[in-house]
């Protein structure tokens, strides 16, 4: 990681993504960006805006609606020494790429005895709200966390978005890079020069003593809001954003849970067989013999995401449900409910930071 910028500036998440790619394309002629609509005037919500103009159609180009084959194309180009960034406007389309991602990208280095590398990045966005519904609101990271050979990263703020994307481009392995649509307009302090945020190192967002909360992707921001509600009650939260899910920095999580003996994992995905289950299981394996340990998971309701606003609101964890779960874990009043005005979702507020 390079020296932090002496003059910090605030940058939106979406602009951090764009800046990371542009800087890497300038630095390395083997980097190219492709995917449906990356060179369209809307340019993936603006995250690829300007790349066509600066780097030309050879290095920024759209594709047919052929996700599986285009993933294979990225793999083949990567095997030849290029560094493709394959962009999907929604994570749901990765389901069409599963064969290439799981059977080829993840395994090529191993099954060919180390003789080939697959240095590719797969960018995709998780949707939420505005009634996006069943097929545009999924956090599917657990499916990829299951497969050795892939790396999975889900930055929750603009600083990590830039640093992780540069790290992903420079990584010699296939990296699934998960963005959250609601994070796009959020701002953080981001250095102008290039820098990397290494995978396998969790970010300590808050230091606290009463409970360890792990927030994944956008849930890291909702947990931040929940922590402020809990602070009003005198509950001190140790808040951790894993940043990368494969590799997963369990050391940081275990060190915290070892102190607090309470671990709440809030996932931006379903609970069943998910990232929260993995984190909870590892905590139980390592800490269960040392004494009492309270573990809980939160995530999407075990149902398909509806479009109607009232039901959709109940589908997701939110600052209220997170704070209530945490408060009960520390022995607080089970009937406590925060003031609704204070408990707005993080994205409904102007969010600055934490960097």
């Amino acid at each position: 990681m390079s020296t932090p910028d002496p003059k910090p500036r605030s940058l939106r998440y979406v602009d951090a993504l764009r800046e990371a790619v542009a800087q890497e394309m300038r630095r390395d002629p083997e980097v190219f960006v492709f995917g449906l609509d990356v060179d369209d005037h809307r340019a993936i919500q603006g995250s690829t805006q300007g790349l066509l103009e600066e780097f030309g159609a050879d290095r920024c180009f759209t594709t047919p609606l052929s996700e599986d084959a285009m993933t294979g194309v990225a793999i083949g180009a990567a095997m030849a020494g290029m560094r493709p960034i394959h962009v999907h406007i929604r994570m749901d389309f990765l389901m069409l790429c599963m064969n290439q991602l799981v059977n080829m990208a993840a395994k090529a280095h191993y099954m060919y005895g180390g003789s080939v590398k697959v240095p590719m990045v797969v960018r995709s966005m998780i949707g939420k709200s505005w009634g996006q519904g069943a097929q545009h609101s999924q956090g599917l990271h657990a499916m990829f966390m299951h497969v050795p050979g892939l790396k999975v990263v889900a930055p929750s703020n603009a600083y990590d978005a830039k640093g992780c994307l540069i790290a992903a481009i420079r990584d010699d392995n296939p990296v699934i890079f998960m963005e959250h649509r609601l994070l796009y307009p959020t701002e953080a302090e981001v250095p102008e020069e290039d820098f990397t945020v290494p995978f396998g190192k969790a970010r300590q967002m808050l230091r606290g003593t009463d409970i360890t909360i792990v927030g994944i992707s956008n849930m890291a921001q909702e947990c931040l809001r929940a922590a402020s509600l809990l602070a009003d009650l005198g509950v001190s939260v140790d808040l951790i954003d894993p940043v990368s899910l494969l590799p997963l920095d369990m050391e940081t999580i275990l060190a915290s849970a070892r102190r607090t003996r309470r671990l709440l994992v809030v996932d931006n995905a379903w609970v069943s067989a998910g990232a929260g289950g993995e984190i909870a299981a590892q905590a139980a394996e390592h800490l269960g013999g040392e004494g009492p340990l309270t573990v809980r998971r939160l995530g999407f309701a075990p149902t398909t995401c509806p479009t109607t606003p009232t039901l959709e609101a109940a589908f997701y964890p939110n600052p209220t449900s997170i704070a209530q779960a945490a408060y009960r874990m520390v022995g607080g009043d089970p009937a406590w409910t925060p003031d609704p005005a204070q408990a707005q979702l993080a994205y409904q507020q102007v969010f600055k930071g934490p960097f």
Binding site: D58, T63, P64, S66, D68, A69, M70, T71, G72, V73, A74, I75, G76, A77, A78, M79, A80, G81, M82, P84, N99, Q100, N103, M104, A108, H109, Y110, M111, Y112, G113, G114, S115, V116, K117, V118, P119, P148, G149, K151, D172, N173
Partner: protein
């Protein structure tokens, strides 16, 4: 279509050596297999050698091939290391994938062998991506991508044909049509036997070769390669051929009832190994045969004498 006239003795000898070497290697593998020294599912190319050799004859050393799980012929025709191939099938560390890939994942980047895949058709888009990179490099290199008639039913293959034509990629698609996908004959899988015409609609030259004639395949490949190197974009060849042995394993399976021995006999009557052998003087053929036998003996010894990987290698190469 009439077969082009056989060319000079030197060429015939080279082609014979290529095709007979593959046949003898596979026959040796089939003989070893029941001993259980090779613990890897083997998909023999016996009967199909002419396609790989005829196509690879047209390629340069710095071109690349992409093969299927039935990839032994492709690997050897493109110059793959026989020692490394047999050691790979034995699971030895001296194998081309350090024993971690087995028979279905032969690879050799130094010889331009991009690797073979067990998931039908999954090599095809990867080959196109490699061709995309070669086009950008601008050194006139190209890819020959082999796949079977079964793979022609996979969606990703059609996605790839479209993309390759759209971007005028330097890639020769070769469909080895042996009329069988595992145990399913073509008429249970294709509504219409019009594969070549279907591919042509993507906007690339497409040709069907039904004879199995190595000279005809070689001539068609040479023309395709010339056009591809000139920047015309991809070309497709459908080459009819026939798998003499079972889908996986060393034996014949005509008693299973899904195909007719008469089909085998028709293809054996035009066996290209025997045909080329007959075009050579007896002493020249014997010299080649002796050299092949000695090479195979040495490769088997190499594989048997090589060590297995150390246990620590289980965790090597998960990440680069």
């Amino acid at each position: 279509m009439a077969s082009p006239e056989p060319t000079d003795q030197e060429t015939i000898a080279r082609l014979y050596r290529g095709i007979a070497r593959i046949r003898r290697v596979e026959e040796r593998v089939a003989a070893i297999y029941p001993t259980d020294k090779i613990k890897s599912p083997i998909h023999l190319s016996i009967g199909q050698e002419a396609v790989a050799v005829g196509i690879c004859e047209a390629l340069r050393a710095d071109d690349t091939v992409s093969g299927t799980y039935r990839g032994h012929a492709t690997y050897l025709a493109k110059g793959g290391d026989l020692n490394a191939m047999l050691a790979e099938m034995y699971g030895k560390v001296s194998g081309c994938a350090r024993g971690k890939g087995g028979s279905m994942h032969l690879v050799g980047l130094e010889q331009g062998i991009l690797g073979c895949s067990a998931v039908v058709g999954s090599n095809v888009p990867v080959a196109a991506g490699y061709a995309l990179a070669l086009k950008r490099r601008g050194r006139g290199q190209m890819v020959a991508c082999f796949y079977g008639d079964g793979a022609s039913e996979e969606g990703g293959v059609y996605e790839t044909l479209n993309f390759a034509a759209l971007h005028k990629l330097p890639i020769l698609f070769v469909c080895e049509n042996n009329f069988l996908a595992i145990h399913e004959p073509l008429n249970r899988r294709w509504a219409a036997d019009r594969l070549t015409e279907r591919v042509a609609t993507f906007g690339m030259p497409a040709q069907r070769i039904t004879s199995g004639d190595i000279f005809e395949i070689r001539t068609a490949a040479a023309e395709a390669v010339a056009a591809i190197r000139a920047g015309a974009g991809p070309v497709f060849l459908e080459c009819h051929t026939y798998r003499w042995r079972e889908h996986v394993g060393p034996a014949e399976d005509y008693a299973a009832g899904y195909r007719d021995r008469a089909d085998l006999e028709a293809w054996q009557a035009k066996d290209q190994v025997a045909r080329l052998a007959a075009l050579l003087p007896e002493d020249a053929r014997q010299t080649i045969d002796a050299a092949i036998a000695a090479e195979i003996d040495a490769a088997v010894r190499f594989a048997e004498d090589s060590p297995f990987p150390a246990l620590e290698e289980l965790y090597d190469h998960v990440y680069a």
